[in-house]
Amino acid sequence: MSNPTDAAPRPEPWTVAIAGGGIAGLSLALALKSALPDAVDVILFDPALSRDPRGDRRAYAVAAAARRMFTALGVWEAVSGGEQPILDMVVTDSRLGDVVRPVFLTFEGDAGTGEPFAHMVESGALVATLLDACRAAGVRLETGSVRGYQADGPCVRVDAGDGAPIKAHLLVAADGGRSRLRGEAGIGWVGWSYPQSGIVATIGHERDHEGRAVEHFLPSGPFAILPLAPGGALGHRSSIVWTERNEVVPHMLALSPEDALAEIERRFGLQLGRLALETPLRAYPLSFGIARDFVAPRLALLGDAAHVIHPIAGQGLNLGLKDVASLAEAVVDAARLGMDPGGADVLETYQRARRFDTLAMGVVTDGLNRLFSNDATPIRLVRDLGLGLVDRLPVLKRFFIREAAGMSPSTPRLMRGEVL
């Protein structure tokens, strides 16, 4: 204009490398690339990218706040059709032999914001949708696996197998609960294993679940029935998450389909009519753990790499998606000011937003599991009284509803459904 200089050469765009293509890693890649299409290159590494994700029938409860983020990212439309809203939720406290399972806690189906408090979504469908959206947005998808990294002042060199290391400004470890990068960074982990595993399967049934989620607190641990969208041989389907003591699990997995179904029926109940096993049983060991730090120079931990919690309240994925919303917001805000998106101040903002919240959820779910995975009469008595109290003085209820709704003042913009 008034100062005639040649047009300045364009600096190289910022580069964000993401290790791990699970739901959290893919969501972050999409959030960054769609908000900053020209200012940021996003590279995501995962050997699993070479496989078709659609086979994965595991189902997740996506809370209202996370659903809003998927809507803002433009992927919810594509998932819908396969999703099932949870319209209400019933919690019972019972032993296997109990004929009548006393209902102690009911959740009405909306998050207080006129939208269902959660939706059940199949993992494979969600991952496939996210992958398509990432590809369309221009995320670089690589099938290599990140083996290590070296933070060096203003950048980080990412070693992804063959070839020269890739230079980035921020590396995100979305590489799961046993994160290799977390170990490389020397970040400590506080946690323990539960003597329980989660057995997961899809169950077909004759009658409509009417969008109701049921959680039976059995002595071996919670048994959750989560409604899925219609389908399967019997017309209706639910996903079960069956928490069982580790010593019993191998026996359950070795059962013939008929015997396995009989065991499930004892727990599931007969309210939905005849049952069918639609997928084989799969077991996942349960643990609780939280990283001492969520960040290191040029590195951010995301999702399970930062925290693994008990699935009792179905909050593991939702916590990871909150990480996504917070990290995306910090990175996008910095880059839009021309500032380094992998700088220590950006990482600090992310850690400040997530660490305390994660610990709070971890402690609540751990406490719930300890309270309920127990058959000692005094404890049953106390907790039965306790659950009744909870229903009358709904502190816990409010905690989960508030978490699901994600409407506190510190809620990141994506979780309010705003576009970054």
């Binding site: 204009m1 008034s2 100062n3 200089t5 047009a7 300045a8 050469p9 364009r10 600096p11 190289e12 908000a35 900053l36 299409p37 020209d38 200012a39 002042g153 203003p154 805000d333 910095a334 839009r336 000011l337 021309g338 500032m339 700088g343 220590a344 101040d345 600090e348 400040r352």
Partner: protein
């Protein structure tokens, strides 16, 4: 900086690289400046997007605009503005600062025109800019009216000036000098001299004498819970002032 002989002293280069790391480390000696940076960068970006009808979400919203950053230090304001597309000239009287800023910009691949010139010299040479910035500088200059006049003269028609400084109030004394320098140790002792702090009224007079019209004077306050600075209406300590030059006026 001053002309050096054609040979480059590697020890000097290494020293500037070390200093640049310090300057640019958000947790290093310049931490308070880094904490302050997002709010002032955001303010300049928003001001420019409003004045020149740009989209703040674009990758390079300041593309083609010229910016003069008076008192640029190690370049923590100049370089991000250049990344947002502006052609930036950064001025600092200290050759070390200019060397630090150049070292960092080169490593980052960002083009900024850093000079040890004074704003008076730049203006005298006839250069004009869409945006002139003097952030955290006014409180360090001996003759405020003369300095502000030179800054105003550098603003092209339709452009604007942003000044950021500290008010001369008892609270500013308590916070900026006793608090930030002596108690918290955020800033080296002797960074500020209270008698040089400038009230918004004095600054407004100086800006008016320079032919610009003050559009707004927001306060900038620190929220210790969020550990973040934000715009506010409280101008008792830190404040900024945005003043425009009309489009029809001769520069």
């Amino acid at each position: 900086m001053q002309e050096r002989s054609s040979t480059i002293d590697p020890a000097e280069v290494a020293r500037f690289e070390r200093l640049a790391r310090d300057w640019w480390d958000p947790k290093g000696p310049m931490k308070p400046l880094h904490k302050f940076n997002p709010v002032r960068l955001g303010y300049v970006r928003e001001g420019a997007c409003r004045a020149f009808a740009r989209d703040p979400r674009a990758a390079r919203p300041l593309e083609g605009l010229s910016i003069l950053d008076v008192g640029c230090g190690g370049g923590v304001l100049s370089e991000p503005l250049a990344r947002l597309g502006a052609r930036v000239v950064g001025l600092d009287p200290a050759p070390t600062n200019i060397a630090v800023a150049r070292t960092h910009a080169e490593a980052a691949g960002v083009a900024v025109d850093y000079r040890t010139q004074t704003v008076e010299a730049v203006v005298e040479a006839g250069e004009r800019f869409d945006v002139v910035l003097a952030m955290e500088v006014v409180e360090h200059v001996p003759d405020v009216p003369a300095f502000v006049r030179a800054c105003c003269a550098g603003v092209a028609p339709g452009g604007f000036l942003v000044l950021a400084t500290i008010n001369r109030t008892m609270r500013a004394f308590a916070l900026a000098i006793v608090g930030a320098e002596y108690v918290l140790g955020w800033l080296p002792r002797g960074t500020h001299d209270w008698s040089r702090f400038v009230t918004p009224e004095e600054l407004e007079d100086a800006v008016a004498a320079g032919g610009l019209t003050v559009a707004e004077t927001p306060g900038v306050t620190y929220n210790p819970l969020a550990d973040r600075w934000a715009l506010s209406r409280d101008t008792a300590v830190n404040y900024m002032m945005l003043a425009r030059r009309g489009p029809a006026e001769a520069a």
